[in-house]
Symmetry: none
Subunit: 300 residues, 2 copies
DNA sequence: CCGGATTTGCAACGAATGTTTCAATTATGC
DNA sequence: GCATAATTGAAACATTCGTTGCAAATCCGG
């Protein structure tokens, strides 16, 4: 259970033992939790018709050191975040440096990754993913481009997608054939572009080219105003915050996987059969080590 | 349409015409809308790395009188969100169960990914990662191998690692040169192998070869008894559970990134300088897209 | 009714807020 | 190439913030 819930229950359980003025404050907090998150303490006190000091005293009475802590819990509730992670993520914002000990660093990374994924699967993002799927499902050909650190995410999608659809093209610029691979791209296709700051020229140019051919673009990136996101038909903006020196592309990979999962779910039985066929082919090519079974997740 | 939406679209549409510093601020606002609602203007400015006055000027530029008004819109969005989602969810339940199922699937994926990462950064795993780092830091050459769906994780590590060390080799079997790339591998090197069920033959054979040459192996895999994990000097066993049809390699990517972060932290200032040099080289190669848009001339 | 303990509100504090002003710098047009 | 305009960051501004100290008010057992 979240910290917010704890505080709320403490307010309720201790309500009877509080002084009359504190009860007025507590009552207002219980009735208007959003005011705690959004308005200032003094504003809350005015609304509850008590002096500010009463609210401070109420904090002390329920065992909270500072109003800031109290407010943070209520803000996290509004964000619908797991409080513990959000709290740690915020700690990172403040500390910045002094992460020299390995254990600290790793814990910070974990917290950041979890927070990033949490944001990536927020309701509004889910809507965007579904929109993106619509476009992909309708497309004649599905191009995927991602360079540098974003390449894994692009590759990941292309690899999985090609297991059940033959119209996927990974634009990886092998042998310099960057333009070659985009040949024939048009309005009925779709280009999925992955990239974050610093944006790599090849990716930006691929997007620009696709746009010029009136091909819709799905952008998986770090900003709504990223050069690859302008004019995109679907923007999947993921956070790549990381306490380490490098930005994290974990979330991009996760989102790309989620897109595949949505497509598979949408495709139904037919897609599953295609995947089975593809895996048989791989097995026939002797790609798998002996003990192997299907690629899929069903563990025995 | 809410006021928030209007403001957001105004920011996006006017983005190109804003001054560089205002773009920085606008970008941060677009990418972190919750910060607007919950944090102070100065805190936002700090996060965006601009002076407070820039934010005030941005308000004037987009036709908003005061920060208070701007913030109110973002706060209202936060308050309206839950309601609108509840409404939409009900809508979907009545009409089509399909889309509702999509949302459920995505939430399950998110939960699984978060759980996987949580396990990957458990204390005992952190110990293993530190051990792995010791071996990597001591190694003459660092080979990385991962095929199929595991390739992104391997690539990710190799890409980042090569930014600050020249002894990294990504064994990707391009042009069939799988054996070539492992030539000369020996006891003083280290091989990082990534793979999960079904284990791909190439990876297993690369590990076997390395072992025969008495090269220590670090295995990032899904099981302690995976063929690539036997005799491994460090086993990083990650969970790849996913409600989708495919297994998830998100955690592998995350762990590989964490290894890089540890190595960077261990390397200290010297490593940071090397990274800076590497990025300058990339910039010299014209690899990056020009950021500071000089296209903001036409003032109307 | 009283005296000690608790509760309450006011005032003041330092810190932080949002905004404005103003030089210094940078870019731009002619 | 220079004059003009636009952009920028630091400093100062009046407010507002959360908190604390203290005196007045209130309560309550004797």
């Amino acid at each position: 259970m979240g910290v917010y819930t704890d505080l709320r229950e403490k307010l309720i359980s201790d309500y009877a033992t509080l002084s009359p003025q504190m009860q007025k404050a507590a009552r207002h907090i219980l009735d208007h939790p959003n005011d705690v998150a959004l308005r200032s303490m003094r504003a809350l006190a005015r609304a509850a018709n008590v002096p500010p000091s009463t609210v401070t005293r109420l904090m002390a009475a329920i065992g909270v050191d500072t109003w800031q802590q109290f407010r943070d819990s209520y803000q996290n509730r509004l964000l619908d975040l797991p409080a513990s992670y959000a709290h740690r993520a915020r700690e990172l914002q403040n500390s910045e440096a002094d992460i020299h000990r390995d254990a600290h660093l790793l814990q910070s990374i974990a917290a950041a990754e979890i927070a990033n994924i949490g944001h990536a699967f927020a309701p509004e993002m889910c809507e965007c993913m579904k929109d993106a799927c619509e476009h992909i499902a309708r497309a004649r050909q599905v191009f995927v481009v991602g360079r540098g650190a974003a390449y894994p995410a692009a590759y990941q999608f292309a690899y999985a997608y090609r297991l059940f659809n033959e119209n996927g093209v990974l634009v990886d610029g092998h042998a310099g054939a960057f333009g070659d691979q985009l040949r024939g791209i048009g309005p009925r296709d779709v280009l999925i572009a992955v990239g974050a700051r610093p944006y790599i020229r090849d990716t930006v140019r691929a997007v620009a080219f696709a746009r010029k051919q009136h091909c819709p673009v799905i952008a998986v990136c770090d900003s709504n105003v990223a050069p690859i996101a302008v004019d995109a038909v679907a923007k999947l903006v993921v956070s790549d915050r990381s306490p380490s020196f490098f930005q994290s592309f974990t979330t991009s990979v996760s989102v790309m996987q989620a897109l595949v999962a949505l497509l598979v779910a949408r495709g139904g039985q037919k897609v599953l059969q295609r995947i089975a066929v593809a895996e048989e082919q791989l097995a026939a090519f002797d790609a798998y080590h002996e003990e192997a079974a299907p690629t899929r997740n069903s563990r025995s």
